[in-house]
Every structure is written in structure tokens, then in C-alpha cells.
Symmetry: C2
Subunit: 340 residues, 2 copies
């Protein structure tokens, strides 16, 4: 039932080319009589003409779709990112086709393949981030990649992420300034971009303050809640438990909170807690959680802009943008009270 240019051509008596020109060609390169335009436009709306982007894409070799791959859509972090990408992409007339790699390198690869088959104009990818060989395999000059959030150090594409080191440093310094010395870190998955940056930042802040970080105060091995729970339990069982904890991700912090509650320890009186990531509910926890907020929306927005720029100018030098996170002080950290 969908009507095509030639339907309109037939109805109006004009040729397909003319119809195409008035309906799609914004440039007024063609001087077409106003009258003609009006006739064509009116018939088009009368017939409910809907341009066929598929045909257009085939012809122009441009689909005006961009592919997005994220590691976990159910994670508010990525969900928010995709939302901002969607908003920014729409502004430029782009649609987004979204894939969820489920933190799985194989599915990530499948997703890339699918998106390539769909002939997306470019790809925004928050990579799983452990391997990268499969990414190389799909590199092509035709379809630019932009990496989001999770980078590879040797990357040569456009990329935007957050300064994990800086955020971790800020968080740790906040703890130090509140008098804490025995500070533990609940880390995420070792070897990942985010975790490495956050641990490094933590160590830097400690070093700058002249505090030695004890090995047994660095615990944990993934970004999940259980890890936070177990790690915290472990810390509390020490003969010399930390007075403050820095969680490398919000799920970890949630687990820590559970463990602390179970031990009848109250935050921040007994133990101080800061976390990387600032999920929407952080202010509503008790106590409201002091957290490092990432500029997620900005990240999505910048990603789209980088991609658009590269599409416009494929030979421009790749840019690598590091956004600044921001420590949001709420009530989960209090000055250390030294036992009299």
C-alpha cells in the first residue's frame, strides 16, 4: 500500500526525477516552478507518501543509521548513555540500531557483523574490553568506529571516556581529608580499562598523601554486588579493618552496604564509603551515598559528534576525549573519630 515516487509521478504527470527533487532535495540547485512543487507536495501528502530510506540508502550508500553496541543495556549507566546517543543522533537525522553484547566478546563480534550487514554508517561501541582482536577483524575504512567508556590503550580510533584516574583520586582524597588512613579499595574486574584507571587513581592519591596502601586492602575481582559483599566481609574480618572503603563501581557499593548492615556497622559513623558511579538512587540510600558521578549524557553526545565529524571528514585525525567525572559529596563519609 505504501506509495512511491512513481505513484506520485503518475498522479501528477511529472517525472520521477522531478518528484524526487521537490520531495527530497533540500538544495535548491534545481529551479523548479513553485506551482509544480505545490502540486507534487500536495499529492504526496494526499497519498501519504513515506520516503523509502532503504532504497535511498542503497542508492546513496548512506543509511543514516548508526550502530550502538553496549555491554549491558540493563545497566543504568549504558541505558542512560544510549538515551543520550539516541537524542543526539536524532538531531542529525540518524536512527540507532542497538545491540547488547551481554559482556560477551563473542556476542560483541556477532553484533558488529550484524551491524555491518545492516550497512550502518558508523559504530559506537562500549566494548567488552578484554580482547580486541575481533574488533580489528572488522575494522574497515568504510565504517568508522567510535569507542565509548571502555578504551583500549593502543586504540587508533575516535574515543571518548571518562578520566577514571582523576575520579578515583578525588574520591580517595576526600576520604583522606576526612582523616582516614586505613582505606581499602573494592576493585572491579582486573585488566579492564575502568578498573585499572580507578585502582591507579586510588594508589596515586594514597601515594601523594604519603600513605602506604596495604596489599590486603585491595580486594575484589569484578564489578558485581556479590563481590562487594564478600570483599567487605573479608575486610571487616581483619584484625585491623579499614575505616573507609572506596568501591570501584555502584554494584560493588551496594554489596558493601549489605555487608555493613549485616555486621550492624553504620555508615558513616563506623565505616566511610565512597563509590565510583552515581546511579539515580544514590541520594535515596541511607545514608545518601557520596559518589563519583560520570558525565554519561555528555559521553553519548560527544560520541555521536565524533562519529558525525568523521563521517563528514573521514581523514581527520582521530580524537580521544577524556571527560571529567565529579565527586558528589553526600552523607556516607564522615570525619574519622579517633578512639580517645
Amino acid at each position: 500500500m505504501t506509495c512511491t515516487l512513481s505513484d506520485i509521478a503518475r498522479q501528477t504527470g511529472f517525472s520521477v526525477s522531478t518528484v524526487s527533487r521537490v520531495l527530497h532535495d533540500n538544495s535548491n540547485r534545481y529551479k523548479i516552478r513553485e506551482e509544480t512543487k505545490e502540486v507534487i507536495r500536495s499529492v504526496a501528502t494526499a497519498l501519504g507518501y513515506t520516503p523509502n530510506k532503504i532504497a535511498r540508502g542503497l542508492r546513496l550508500n548512506r543509511t543514516h543509521q548508526m550502530g550502538i553496541i553496549v555491554a549491558d543495556l540493563a545497566n543504568p549507566f549504558f541505558a542512560t548513555m544510549v538515551k543520550s546517543i539516541s537524542k543526539e543522533a536524532r538531531k542529525s537525522g540518524y536512527s540507532i540500531v542497538v545491540c547488547d553484547s551481554d559482556e560477551n566478546t563473542h556476542l560483541e563480534e556477532e553484533s558488529i557483523k550484524t551491524l555491518m550487514e545492516n550497512r550502518v554508517d558508523g559504530l559506537l561501541i562500549a566494548a567488552v574490553g578484554v580482547e580486541r582482536e575481533h574488533l580489528e577483524r572488522f575494522r574497515s575504512d568504510d565504517v568508522p568506529f567510535v569507542f565509548l567508556d571502555r578504551l583500549y590503550d593502543d586504540i587508533s580510533d575516535d574515543a571518548v571516556s571518562v578520566d577514571n584516574r582523576k575520579g578515583a583520586r578525588d574520591a580517595t582524597e576526600h576520604l583522606i581529608q576526612n582523616g582516614h588512613r586505613r582505606i581499602a579499595i573494592l576493585q572491579g574486574l582486573p585488566g579492564t580499562y575502568a578498573n585499572t584507571g580507578r585502582v591507579t587513581g586510588f594508589r596515586q592519591a594514597m601515594a601523594d598523601a604519603g600513605i602506604e596502601v596495604r596489599d590486603q586492602y585491595v580486594v575484589g575481582d569484578d564489578f558485581g554486588t556479590l563481590n562487594g559483599f564478600l570483599g567487605t566481609k573479608h575486610l571487616l574480618r581483619m584484625e585491623d579493618p579499614p575505616t573507609a572503603i572506596f568501591a570501584a563501581g555502584y554494584l560493588i557499593a551496594l554489596g558493601a552496604l549489605d555487608a555493613l548492615r549485616e555486621e550492624h556497622l553504620v555508615v558513616p559513623r563506623d565505616v566511610a564509603l565512597v563509590t565510583f558511579d552515581d546511579p539515580g538512587f544514590a541520594p535515596h540510600l541511607s545514608p545518601p551515598l557520596t559518589a563519583v558521578e560520570q558525565p554519561i549524557e555528555q559521553m553519548g553526545e560527544m560520541g555521536v559528534k565524533l562519529l558525525l565529524r568523521r563521517l563528514r571528514d573521514p581523514s581527520s585525525a582521530p580524537r580521544r576525549i577524556l571527560l571529567e567525572p565529579r565527586l558528589i559529596v553526600r552523607e556516607s563519609v564522615a570525619p574519622l573519630v579517633v578512639p580517645a
Copy 2:
């Protein structure tokens, strides 16, 4: 650089059709010599052939894309739904192009238009849900719609949602069974499908228990946190405040929690609280929140299945599925203690 069927044809000496057949036609309707197949396949991989779905879509009038429109991707509810849709769609070789309507009827309409232009094979839509005229305007026999979560009562399309009434009844009954009589509801946006169902369920449960619901115990007017906060404050200021509160959505519950904390009331000792929606962090609140869990993943999955079925058999009778929510009892409700 992308290579096409004709490239492979040239390389192998076979015709484009033969190449097409071995590369794409799963059906063995054509008896092609094994040897030929091998040659073609090997050249294809050697050249890094990536099928062009755009061209395919144009020819077959099937893009193998489905459009998704949700009201707010940053809402964990929709994010989870999209994730499950993505998973289910992938199983059948479908990609999803996602739009965020930002709870805005106009953007919703724009999104539909875009998706139609993209010639998606079908549409899954969690509609804003207030108006529906704009939806009608785009109804066409070519592109089936499936409604998710938010329905219109007079809808004639496939649809899957959750039994809001039942969930609200269960939650309210739980409160009643714990001895509560003065029960308030913090409602969401009046007139929406979700809110109407939830309020109705609440009233039913009260009626069934022979408890009169006082008008001033029905407060609030949207699904946001602030509404929950203000509503709760209002309730607490009454001469005869409720002993239990049912929040119609999780953001509302969060606001309620804030208000209660501010008033130094402790849940569940002083006030009991149940909420519709069970966001991932509910178990980690203090106290862990008793909540009505919606079968979100199942909803996405069913939505895709309905759409796929309709694509296969366009004339089948529309189905309207109501999924059962589940009350998850945690620690935010306690038996009412009557002052001695």
C-alpha cells in the same frame, strides 16, 4: 571496499544468481554442485564478503529490523525491556532500531514516522499512553504494531502488559493482612493505563476487606520522586496519618522513603511501605523494600513473539496478553502494633 555478489561472480566465473543462491539461500531448492558451493564460499570469505541487507531489504520488502519506541530508556524498567527484546529479536535474525519518546506524544509520533521511513518490519511500542490519535494515523496493514506495557483499552492490535490490578491488589492485601487499616496510596499520573489499574486494584482490595478508603488517603499525581516525597509529607501531616503506604511506582517509593527519613520515622516500625515496580536496588535499601515485581523480560520476549507471529501470519486474530506480577516480600512491612 565492500565486496558484492558480482565481485565474487567475476572471481569464480559463476553468475551472480548462483553466488546468491549458495551464499543466501538456505533452502536447498537448488541443487548446486558441492564443488561449486565450496569454490564460491571460499572466495566469499577470502574477499570478506558482507551481505548487503539494505539491497536485500529493498528487493524482498523485508528489512529484518523491528522498531522499538519506549517512553524513557533511562528508566530501568524500559531498559530491561529493550534488553530482553534485543535478545529475543536476535534469535530470529532481527535487529532493533530504538527510539526514545521521552514521554512526549509529539516525539513519539516523530519516531513512528522515522521508523516507517526505515521500513522496519514491525513496531514494538511502549506508548506514552495519553493520546492515541497520532498512532491511528500511522496504522497501516503493512507494518504491524505491538503495544507493550501501556495499552489503550480500545486497542485492536497485539499487546502485552502486566496485570496492574492484580499486583496492586496483592500489595494492598499484604498490608491488610499485616493488620493495617489506615492505608494510603501514592498514585502516579492519573489517566494512564498503569495508574488506573493500580488504583483500581488498591480500591478492590480495600473493598474486599470491608475497609473504606478515605479520599484524603489517595494522593499524588505523577510517577516521580518528588511526588512521592510531597505526598508522603502531606499524609504525615494529617491528624490521623496512615500506618501504611502503597506507592504506585518505584520513584514514588523513593520519594516516600526520603520524606519518612526526614521525619525520623522508621520503616516498617512506624510506617509500612510497599511499592509497585521492583528495581534492582530494592533489596539493598534499608529496609529492603517489599515490592511488586513485573515480569519485564517476559514482556519483551512475548512482545517479540507476538510481532513475529503476526509477520508470519498477518491475518491472525490480535492477542492481548496480561502477565502476572509477583509480590516480593522483604522487610518494609511489619505487623501493625496497636498502641496499648
